[in-house]
């Protein structure tokens, strides 16, 4: 059975009666994942699923319902539920649907090679990744996980006030987690690669990165408490930016839940720092020609030369705040109405690679992993307190590994303390790109 998403959403949108606006958003995804363990396929998953979410607005009220049942009966019930839910919702100027606007298609989101990739090649890649990780270093005693995954997705949207669009995307990624053991101590390290098609994945560097990161942590000890320059690895930086992102959503600002509220136009970061969200950057996995409610995407500079320039908006926050949408309505899936989030968020890269940043700082801590971010970092209060592990460096060279340490600071102090952004920007699976970051001074607490 082929599912015609366009036809489904257009039919639902056409059901709107006088005085109400109806929007339907549908998705169809086909996914495969393969995990390898000790030379065998441990698990292979293959699936296709689809669903539609219906938003109804009338008199400043909103109703939402979703269903995975795309038969006529299921769609009718979904629309009826959304209408009934509208009755109890509160009035809000944000409960409006966006006007229709022409969008430009985005080349490169859909890689036809991926749609034609055979299951055998996917299995082979996972097995190859596992074998390479195991062989990368004699101290690698186990490959905790070697995985390949992909998604081919289609999205369609239509509304009763003329929004209409659809597009398709492909993603492929692979991940390896190496475990190294020596003298009774075990350490893990990660490597990851992502692209629009399997053909562009390179398992060799992923395996080496996972193995190197595990092996170099062997012998890690709890450090004495010190205040030193800190370099965050490119795989760590997205955790920090993720906390900031929550505070850059106009929705959080309007609800007084952002540390950036009332700071528009203020210096919030170091001079030269530039934070960008770019929904049209095809190299990032969050790229799309239009957002979760059909508004064309664009490039938005949030922080320019350290000054907070604007927030991310969808149609609702724009209507409430007398602004215009930045095309940042995003949905987790058809199961949720549009919230506000970034497409591809990143700090504008600088000149130095990680080795260059270490050389510039001279002595300090390279943070390879952080943990406890979702509990220890608070985008409302601005507190940032996380567990870290990594390596000391001296004279720009990596030295002893460190574990069970913590770093605590105010988020704004961290932003203002960023002395340099690395040149090593990369997007992998999330909507935040990572570069190595050099932060002036931080207290690393241990024993």
């Amino acid at each position: 059975m082929t599912i015609e998403l366009d036809a489904i959403v257009e039919r639902l949108a056409a059901e709107a009666t006088g005085g109400e606006g109806v929007e339907a958003y549908a998705e169809l995804t086909t996914e495969t994942s393969v995990s390898a363990f000790q030379g065998e396929v441990e698990r292979l998953t293959s699936a296709s699923s689809s669903g539609v979410g219906v938003r109804v607005v009338a008199d400043g009220r909103l109703g939402y319902a979703y269903t995975a049942d795309l038969r006529d009966q299921g769609l009718r019930e979904c629309l009826a539920e959304a209408r009934a839910n509208l009755e109890v919702s509160g009035e809000d100027p944000g409960n409006v649907l966006p006007e229709a606007a022409a969008y430009q298609a985005l080349d490169g989101l859909f890689d036809v090679r991926q749609a034609d990739t055979s299951p055998e090649r996917k299995v082979a890649l996972a097995l190859d990744l596992e074998a390479r990780t195991r062989a990368a270093d004699p101290k690698v005693t186990q490959v905790e996980s070697a995985r390949y995954g992909d998604v081919v997705g289609e999205v369609a949207i239509a509304s009763s006030i003329g929004v209409k669009g659809s597009f398709a995307v492909t993603h492929a990624w692979c991940l390896s987690i190496a475990m190294a053991t020596e003298d009774g101590q075990s350490q893990v390290g990660y490597g990851v690669d992502a692209a629009r098609a399997l053909d562009d994945l390179d398992p060799g560097p992923v395996a080496r990165e996972a193995a190197d990161r595990a092996v170099r942590m062997l012998g890690a000890a709890k450090p004495a408490t010190r205040t030193v320059p800190v370099v965050l690895d490119r795989m760590v930086a997205p955790s920090l930016l993720g906390v900031l992102l929550a505070g850059l959503s106009a929705e959080e600002v309007q609800k007084r839940r952002s540390l950036f509220a009332d700071r528009l136009g203020e210096q919030v970061g170091a001079a030269g720092l530039r934070l960008i969200d770019d929904g049209r950057l095809v190299a990032g996995p969050g790229a799309a020609p239009f957002d979760g409610e059909g508004v064309p995407t664009r490039r938005t500079v949030l922080i320019d030369d350290g000054v907070l320039e604007c927030f991310l908006h969808n149609t609702a926050t724009a209507a409430r705040g007398d602004a215009s949408s930045t095309g940042n309505a995003r949905r987790g899936s058809f199961k949720s109405s549009p919230g506000v989030s970034a497409h591809n968020l990143f700090l504008e890269p600088g000149e130095l690679d990680q080795a260059g940043l270490l050389a510039r700082a001279g002595e300090g801590l390279l943070v390879q992993d952080v943990s406890g971010v979702h509990s220890g970092a608070n985008p409302i209060t601005g507190d940032f307190s996380v567990g870290v592990s990594g390596l000391w460096f001296r004279n720009g060279e990596l030295a002893e590994p460190v574990r069970e340490a913590t770093v605590a600071a105010r988020l704004l102090d961290i932003l203002k303390g960023i002395e340099a952004v690395g040149s090593d920007l990369r997007f992998t699976t999330g909507s935040i790109g990572g570069s190595s970051l050099l932060i002036g001074q931080m207290t690393v607490a241990g024993a």
Binding site: R43, T45, E144, G376, V407, A445
Partner: protein, 463 residues
């Protein structure tokens, strides 16, 4: 949901290429979620999810395919896709299906699906009003109510089939308090495997009051000290710590890969002989409870620590067979779109005999962690980090100044080993545990407990 004849046909197709064992998991899920923010009912969402997954297992390898249609054509196609991973002559056959009878029940007094939408709106408004009335410093309130009814059918080629109707209800309130430029947050969110009667046990005003109390108390906080010190953890919160730092390492998938700090620790004395821990899916109405796990194994109570000795691991069917251990009924999945893996259910540190107030009086200096946020653990090393969302200094055996920005760092076995006091009180906290991208409801319980030495990270300088 599905006829036995259909299920048998699908299982047969799944075994056509040499699989040793096959399974069908089908579910139909109806949920309601209402959210109030900024003094306004922002959204009420009704969701309908349905679908089925077919799994084929050979040895420790498995292939899984799912679809969100429940017609026979879609199910047979999923079976063929899963079977395509193997290319051998058939090696096993499908036994006649026998329905497994439930050993425990989680009664539902009031079916949430019958509750009026206006009643739900009233609940969140009452919570908003109560939180705002608590203290003028309360600046923002969000309140949410959610219920889900999940009908699950599980059948496998061994001939077992189970049918279960799971109902869960939860009420959550988050409060932001602000005074003199300081902003703090507080949260409370009870949930149970029961119906709308949850709200009788946890009236919105009380949930909102607790969330507001936490936020307001922390306004007077100072930056937490850093360094090693004794930590007293308030009842309930130690359960979250135990879940993260020890429970995950006792899940058998990590044991099977020798990727856990608890590998090889069975039968070893880790902690004080007063230390006992369990994982129990049979607790009536427990947030993490069920009748059968997501592979159709009956819910049970598994002892993790007895007298400080590491006892049993948490298994799903594949890991139980691989390790030669009993199936402990811990194979869980988020939905039909996920493969079951070993997961915790209701994980408890059992109460001791110490008076909780006496535990604090006997602690000259340290940290009182009244409420922990979420945590994160590296199961290979057992290392974890926890945020303390409500913490106080203990000075001369008294709880004194509130402190903010504290986190706790350590590793699971060391914490179990360092527990030197267990209160005679006991509380459970509910949450959603994430692993491999799958979220499942879990309850975590513990008495007041003291950890004799623990690393505290904070911004307030050395303790």
């Amino acid at each position: 949901m599905l006829e036995d004849a259909v299920v048998r046909k699908v299982l047969g197709a799944a075994l056509a290429t040499g699989g040793e064992w096959a399974e069908v998991y089908a579910e139909d899920r109806l949920s309601h979620n209402i959210r109030l923010e900024d003094q306004r009912v922002e959204e009420l969402v009704t969701g309908r999810d349905r679908g089925a997954g077919v799994r084929v297992v050979k040895g420790t390898a498995s292939a899984y395919a799912y679809t969100n249609r429940l017609d026979i054509d879609a199910l047979l196609e999923a079976a063929r896709v899963a079977a395509a991973a193997l290319r051998e002559p058939p090696a096993a056959e499908v036994h006649d299906l026998r329905r497994r009878e439930p050993g425990v029940r989680h009664p539902v007094a009031v079916d949430p699906a019958g509750v009026q939408r206006t009643t739900l709106a009233e609940l969140v408004r009452r919570a908003d009003a109560a939180a705002r009335a608590y203290d003028p410093a309360v600046a923002q309130v969000s309140a949410g109510y959610g219920d889900v009814r999940q009908q699950v059918l599980i059948a496998n080629s061994d001939g077992f089939s189970t049918l279960e109707d799971r109902v869960r209800t939860r009420f959550v309130v988050q409060v932001v308090a602000a005074r003199d430029g300081v902003v703090q947050t507080g949260f409370d969110g009870p949930g149970r495997s029961m119906g709308f009667e949850l709200l009788d046990e946890f009236p919105p005003e009380e949930v909102a009051g607790r969330a507001a109390e936490r936020a307001v108390a922390m306004l007077a906080s100072k930056p937490a000290p850093a360094g090693e010190m004794p930590v007293v953890i308030a009842s309930g919160n130690g359960g979250v710590l135990f879940h993260e730092s020890s429970g995950h390492g006792m899940e058998a998938d990590l044991i099977a890969k020798e990727a856990s700090v608890y590998y090889g620790k069975q039968g070893k004395q880790i902690g004080d002989e007063r230390f006992n821990g369990i994982d129990d899916a049979t607790i009536e109405g427990g947030w993490g409870s069920f009748v059968f796990d997501d592979e159709g194994t009956p819910a049970q109570c598994t002892v993790l620590f007895e007298g400080g000795v590491c006892t049993d691991y948490l298994t799903d069917l594949i890991r139980a067979r691989q390790l030669g251990l009993p199936a402990s009924g811990n194979g869980r999945r988020q939905s039909y779109a996920d493969v079951p893996i070993p997961r915790m259910t209701n994980t408890y540190v059992l109460a001791g005999t110490d008076d909780p107030e006496e535990i604090i009086r006997q602690t000259p200096r340290g940290l009182y962690a009244k409420s922990l946020g979420g945590g994160q653990v590296n199961p290979v090393t057992g290392e974890f980090v926890f945020g303390v969302v409500e913490g106080y200094l203990i000075e001369d055996g008294q709880v004194t100044t509130p402190v903010r920005g504290a986190n706790l760092v350590g590793d699971g076995p060391s914490v179990v080993a360092a527990v030197d006091a267990l209160g005679d009180d006991f509380t459970v906290k509910e949450g959603i545990c994430g692993k491999e991208g799958q979220g499942v409801p879990v309850g975590n319980g513990a008495p007041t407990m003291r950890i004799s030495r623990m690393t505290v990270g904070g911004t307030g300088g050395p303790a």
